[in-house]
């Protein structure tokens, strides 16, 4: 049972990381790159609950950090995605999952991920962050999150119900 759950989570994360780095970041969209990985973490946290959400977020952050071109700092994304996965699973009651709430959660998460990355990087004393870009990045990131959510979240929850019906919330 948990083997199937692990396989589902791992393959969704790997596919999301690949798509984000080879396709989405090359589309040349204005502002941030659509953060498909965060959207998938949120969707999996909604499906499996806070603890799995946190573990998935952690693993996704590390995968994204280690996959080339690997320009980011290893660990920050793992930390941010972990918190997002946990909070999503813990805050949202499985019983009132209306579409606006889910989409809003994703938009909030993608924006918060961009902001948190910049803040943590700065808190560790790095001067890599260009603050004048941060508002644009946060806004566009959550906008792309809002656009991706109605497609990605239902697809993943359908997959989860289909493949691991006994563990899904």
């Amino acid at each position: 049972m948990w083997i199937r759950q692990t396989v589902v989570c791992a393959s969704i994360i790997v596919v999301a990381v690949m798509l984000q780095l080879t396709l989405l970041s090359r589309l040349g969209l204005p502002g941030a790159t659509p953060d498909l990985v965060v959207v998938c973490v949120v969707a999996l946290a909604l499906a499996y609950g806070p603890v799995t959400g946190a573990v998935v977020g952690f693993a996704a952050g590390l995968t994204l950090g280690f996959t080339p071109p690997a320009g980011g700092v290893i660990g920050i994304q793992a930390l941010v995605f972990l918190v997002i996965g946990f909070l999503t699973g813990a805050v949202i009651d499985p019983r009132d999952r209306t579409v606006p709430i889910l989409v809003g959660m994703v938009g909030l998460s993608t924006g918060a991920a961009a902001l948190a990355y910049a803040l943590i990087l700065a808190a560790f004393g790095s001067n890599q962050v260009s603050w004048q870009e941060v508002p644009t990045l946060v806004l566009t990131s959550s906008l792309y999150g809002l656009l991706l959510a109605p497609i990605v979240v239902p697809t993943i929850s359908w997959l989860v119900r289909r493949i691991t019906p006994e563990t899904a919330i």
Binding site: M18, V51, S130, E133
Partner: protein, 341 residues
């Protein structure tokens, strides 16, 4: 809400993440470079494949051929139509790539750089504040860290690290990038650093009395044996100068010639030219009237007598220079000997 086990798992993960962050930010090679190279080798191939799949993203028209067989005729015509549209899209894409390669070969030919062509296969997301890309050429093609990367417009960056089949390039607009640059047509040199924004670089002259004007072009100054930067590569154009002559520092804003946000075909300089090509690689060398006397007198006295003369004598120069550069595939084949020494 939180039981014992959950709390332990969360605390453990947070501690691991923080430890990794601190270790990675310590700089230098760090403990993660070997992990990164293992993951690069494992996922590099997947990335190359994924990039092949997604590159003709507009070519989805060919999926139309699978309609039901009741209306076979319509289906057939539709599929034919889709195939034709697909080929139109593809030929446009091929033409664009051929143009990019042509421009790259022009720069390589005029400057006599020996290059290995490569394609960008992955780009770091903008929210990481790190301007790095992955290209599909690596150690097997003779690439080494610190080699110069160019495209048809000018300088792109330098190689940061390599795997067998891929390499990571840090772009000139990255905040960690600093390039020795010379104002074309003069002897003014300075340091050009990235600002993290894709359309502006910051140029600081070494001589505080230097006069800079908007519109002046910058070329690379060159390092010993051409690494990290080969000499004479066009970088960008001065758009704004702040500070006045005589102040301690003069800072100019420079717009790079190459658009780093839409990179496709790039070239890696695996062997710099024997003589500095000076300003000859620029699309419009500033040789015409104001700088010509200065250029010939100083250049003749300083380093290379073979420095290219102004416009009139440039045409034969171009023709002879273009000859030694073979087609991209041939030059990629010729890299084995260059890479080994």
């Amino acid at each position: 809400m939180l039981n014992q086990r959950t709390r332990i798992i969360l605390a453990l993960l947070v501690i691991i993440a923080l430890t990794f962050t601190i270790l990675d930010l310590r700089g230098g090679k760090g403990p993660f470079s070997s992990v990164r190279s293992v993951v690069s080798s494992a996922l590099g191939g997947v990335q190359v494949a994924a990039s092949v799949i997604v590159s003709p993203i507009t070519g989805v028209g060919s999926w139309w051929g699978t309609w039901g067989d009741q209306r076979a005729r319509i289906a057939e015509l539709e599929s034919q139509n889709a195939t034709l549209q697909d080929s139109v899209v593809r030929s446009a894409e091929d033409r664009a790539r051929a143009d990019a390669l042509d421009q790259l070969l022009r720069v390589a030919g005029v400057g006599r750089y020996r290059i290995v062509p490569a394609e960008v296969i992955a780009v770091e997301p903008a929210q990481d504040f790190s301007w790095t890309v992955t290209i599909d050429a690596g150690r097997d093609d003779g690439l080494l860290p610190d080699m110069t990367v160019i495209n048809g417009q000018g300088l792109i960056g330098r190689i940061l690290s390599t795997t067998k089949t891929t390499a990571t390039v840090v772009l000139i607009v990255d905040t960690s990038s600093a390039v020795g640059a010379r104002v074309a047509g003069t002897e003014e040199i300075g340091i050009l650093s990235g600002t993290g924004r894709q359309d502006s670089l910051e140029f600081q002259t070494l001589d505080p009395l230097a006069t800079l004007k908007p519109g002046q072009a910058l070329v690379t100054f060159g390092s010993r044996s051409g690494r990290p930067y080969a000499p004479g590569i066009p970088i960008g154009e001065v758009v704004d100068v702040s500070g006045t002559a005589g102040q301690l520092t003069r800072i100019a804003t420079v717009r790079p010639f190459a658009d780093v946000s839409t990179l496709t075909v790039v070239g890696v300089v695996i062997r710099p030219p024997r003589a500095d090509p000076r300003d000859s690689v620029l699309p419009t060398p500033p040789a015409s009237s104001n700088f010509a006397p200065d250029e010939t007198s100083t250049a003749g006295g300083v380093d290379d007598g073979a420095s290219p003369a102004p416009t009139p004598s440039e045409k034969p120069e171009k023709e002879t220079a273009a000859k030694p550069v073979p087609a991209p595939s041939a030059s990629a084949g010729a890299t084995a000997d260059a890479g080994s020494n």
